[in-house]
């Protein structure tokens, strides 16, 4: 009977109840949605690179090195000598290395010069290796493998020819027009900056710069694509390289050895540690976002209480009748609490459904346009905690109108106040 009363009473005030439900649902969708996105963003962020034990570049801060080598943000301050790279990669503890040469771009997308070890050893997310959605790795000097987003955004297919530009701007005035690259492979989407990368061989990078000096074409010396192939295309320097060790136990030893390398000033960083440091900086924004969401939720809950409190006046009659037929004041208290609980639970359910449907609808768009891979299931143990907290807070806030009902029941008794 109590539940029936609460239910029918709410139904009787359905227009306001639905609006309350609506606003509460919106704030809950925001809360759960942002919480979910936050986790997914962190997940996707930290899953950018995995399986790599060290990243080595010219001496610099670890964030700078991480940003340009993994996230393709910013630029290296100096290069690593090819000879140095060769020496270090022969270190007995080192199992594999991936050379990285950055500095060129194609229509705003960064070009990465590397070798085939990249496609073999690079791991992201949960030790996932790279997969080709079409084609295969490059073999020739003028061949390229595109990240998923580059291919889909620019509409490239296997066999298309692209030209690289010097520098990393979206619009470049110095292009390597004379030496076009043919697309031989397109990588499957990974949800990492890799999707926005154009991969070529180190020799390719060397070839397009062979007639360049100090970042500009050398006047009077122009080599065609075929002529360049005849030259020695062994790179003179690379930007950075990734290292996989035989045993992770050796990480700190090798790191120290590289940092103390006599021939050149180098920095070796642990990607995990650097990622954590970077995320800490970003988590400020993340926490701010969460705070705003919580405030929206509080506004929603307070709105619900205001509506209930306002409805108490028109419900005095109802309360007096219940008192007259023998309801204890606590019964009225519980009745109001139950209504609030009913509203909150309904709002939670509505929010859950809305969120799942929205994510389901947006998943493809997010993945293809933003490289964000969001799982549809936004619920974890933590969202249960959230839900429980929301229920508790609303029950707590509901004490205000509920206590009003209780007190009025005691004071007014059977008095008729219209």
């Amino acid at each position: 009977m109590l539940i029936k009363l609460a239910r029918q009473s709410l139904w009787n005030r359905r227009s306001t109840a639905i609006m309350t439900l609506f606003s509460l649902t919106i704030s809950l969708v925001l809360l759960f949605g942002i919480d979910h996105l936050r986790k997914e963003a962190r997940q996707s962020f930290t899953s950018t690179i995995s399986g790599t034990d060290l990243i080595v570049g010219a001496r610099s801060g670890q964030l700078n090195l991480l940003l340009y080598s993994v996230f393709r943000i910013g630029n290296a301050t100096a290069n690593v000598n090819w000879a140095t790279y060769q020496r270090i990669s022969k270190h007995p503890q080192i199992s594999w290395t991936i050379p990285l040469a950055l500095g060129d771009s194609h229509r705003g997308y960064r070009v990465l010069g590397t070798n085939n070890d990249y496609f073999v050893h690079y791991r992201y997310a949960n030790q996932q290796s790279l997969r080709f959605s079409e084609g295969q790795a490059f073999e020739g000097v003028y061949e390229t493998v595109l990240g998923a987003e580059v291919a889909s955004k620019l509409g490239y297919q296997l066999g298309d020819e692209i030209t690289l530009a010097h520098g990393v701007g979206a619009v470049s005035f110095s292009e390597h027009k004379d030496k076009p690259f043919t697309v031989t492979g397109i990588l499957a989407a990974t949800g990492t900056p890799l999707d926005q990368t154009v991969h070529v061989s180190l020799e390719g990078i060397e070839a397009i710069h062979i007639d360049w000096q100090q970042g500009a074409p050398m006047p009077g010396r122009k080599l065609s694509a075929e002529q360049a192939l005849q030259q020695d295309l062994t790179p003179k320097a690379i930007t950075a390289f990734m290292v996989g060790l035989e045993s992770r136990m050796a990480t700190f030893v090798v790191q120290r050895q590289i940092n103390e390398f006599k021939g050149e000033a180098l920095s070796a960083i642990l990607p995990g540690v650097a990622l954590a440091e970077l995320w800490q900086m970003l988590s400020m924004v993340e926490n701010l976002l969460l705070l705003i969401t919580l405030l929206v939720l509080v506004a929603g809950l307070v709105g619900m209480m205001t509506t209930l409190l306002a409805s108490m006046k028109e419900r005095q009659r109802e309360m007096a009748v219940l008192r007259a037929v023998g309801a204890h004041p606590w019964y009225l208290f519980v009745l109001i609490q139950l209504e609030v609980l009913l509203l909150t639970v309904l709002a939670l359910l509505a929010a859950a459904i809305t969120l799942v449907v929205t994510l389901w609808g947006l998943q493809d768009t997010l993945a293809s346009h933003y490289g964000l891979f969001i799982t549809i299931n936004p619920f974890s143990l933590q969202s249960l905690y959230w839900a429980a907290t929301v229920l508790m807070v609303s029950a707590l806030l509901a004490c205000i109108p509920a206590f009003t009902a209780y007190r009025r029941a005691l004071n007014d008794g059977l008095a008729i106040r219209l």
Binding site: S9, V321, V325, A327, H328, P329, G413, L414, A415
Partner: protein, 236 residues
Amino acid sequence: MTGIKPVTDKPKIPAIELKNVVFYYRRGGWQLSLPELSLPPGQHLFIKGASGSGKTTLLNLLAGIISPRQGEIKLNGEPFSSVSAAKRDTLRARHIGVVFQQLNLISYLSVLDNVLLSAHFAGSNKQTSEQRARVLLQRLGLEPELFEQQAAALSVGQQQRVAIARALLTEPALLIADEPTSALDADNRDSFMQILLEQANACGTTVIFVSHDPGLRRYFDKQLDMQHLAQGVKSC
């Protein structure tokens, strides 16, 4: 005879009994005093009083919403005013029916659910209560097709009858009616009074009827005037 009281003597226990009852909100202010009132089962009382004469206070006392400052009220021979508020609520649910001036019903519940409210709080069996509610509603002249309708859809006269059905559902010892006819026209008023007393008699219920309308006095065997009870400054 001074021997053992026979069980059949039960009717002699008054439905409600007030002794030396005094109530005031503030000491030295307006106060209500009722030295003696005892109503045997089935005997009805007409209380004449205009609004502001302490009528609501008296009703709250009789219904057990408030307790007297002095004196005692007994319901069915059992202590009523001296027990806890929660116990009084339960006793009210079981032994007292209340009919207000108007708007007696919870508008969004069906007619039947409104009647069954009293059974719910009295803790009676749901099935037998529902059967009884249907019979009672029909005896009060309400068509069965109205039973499932929302209470708000009924006319004022019909609503007041539903209120009687609710008040009498648990066969209470006492029915408190607070100007239940004030919203009715003359014809409806008379039929309402007849039906109220007829059904109350059938249940053996004592009716305490409060009204400022002296025209209703003739239905009752006993009368009390609020003016004799209230003393001091008027409350409002």
